[in-house]
Amino acid sequence: MVRPPVAVVALFVFWLLLSGMPVPFLVLSGLGCSIAVVLLAGRLNRVADECNPVRLVWAKLASYCPWLVKEIVLAAWDVSKRILNPRLPISPTLVEFCPSQKTDAALTIHANSITLTPGTISVEVEHGRFLVHALTEEGALSLAGSEMNRRCSELEDA
């Protein structure tokens, strides 16, 4: 959970960027809304009792994003070529494998990255088990022990 003052400032900046109109009424109501949201969210968290801090190595995440974009472009290009190929060279495969991440945040990032990459969709996600539908057999076989798996594990705070 982010500290409340930080959350208020972040929400207020978000409001200002979206509004883009420096009228006193709008700025003040934005500030009021930010404070109200943080207060209400704090109450919700107390009720749910689920303070699950996201622990990630942010420096690794910064280098992970460009890498993921590159992977997405390559995979999208591959799927595009298959779509345009008159013979439609696909071999849909369901594959199960064991991701090496331990924390929820890293598992979520890994599963979302798999789905975001065209050609693979994570269907079931549990600790130690991913069920992935892949457009091609090669794509399915390259999932276990992939570079994406390694990079997602590096995101975890050791």
């Binding site: 799927v79 779509i83 369901l94 979302n112 975001l116 990459t117 969709i121």
Partner: protein, 113 residues
């Protein structure tokens, strides 16, 4: 400089339009639900990504660009979550995916659609 960004933005817009169209073609050509989702993900990654990038270059340094970047972040967080929910719901409700290599060589007969 002005001309360069204009040309670049049009290149990205054209690429985005092309990949959106390609995703649509794939959506029609693919044999079953799950493979169609793969085709759709081309649209929501490369298609939407290039369109947003083109629009950002078009808008230059302004609040519009910031908002476009926010839309991009939203798409890249929400679309895989939605795809995952869709695929999981389909599998849980008993829709079996077409599997195997036999699909690769021939079109699926109309009776199986």
């Amino acid at each position: 400089m002005e001309i360069l960004t204009t040309v670049l933005s049009w290149v990205f817009l054209a690429c985005g339009a092309f990949f959106c169209l390609l995703g649509g073609i794939g959506l029609i050509r693919m044999p079953d639900f799950y493979t169609r989702m793969h085709a759709a993900s081309v649209t929501e990654t490369l298609g939407a990504g290039s369109l947003l990038l083109g629009l950002m270059l078009h808008a230059g340094f302004s609040l519009v660009t910031v908002k476009l970047a926010m839309i991009g972040v939203l798409i890249f967080l929400a679309s895989p979550t939605a795809s995952h929910a869709l695929a999981k719901a389909a599998l849980l409700s008993g829709l079996r995916p077409l599997l195997g290599k036999e699909l690769s060589s021939r079109e699926v007969p109309p009776s199986k659609r």
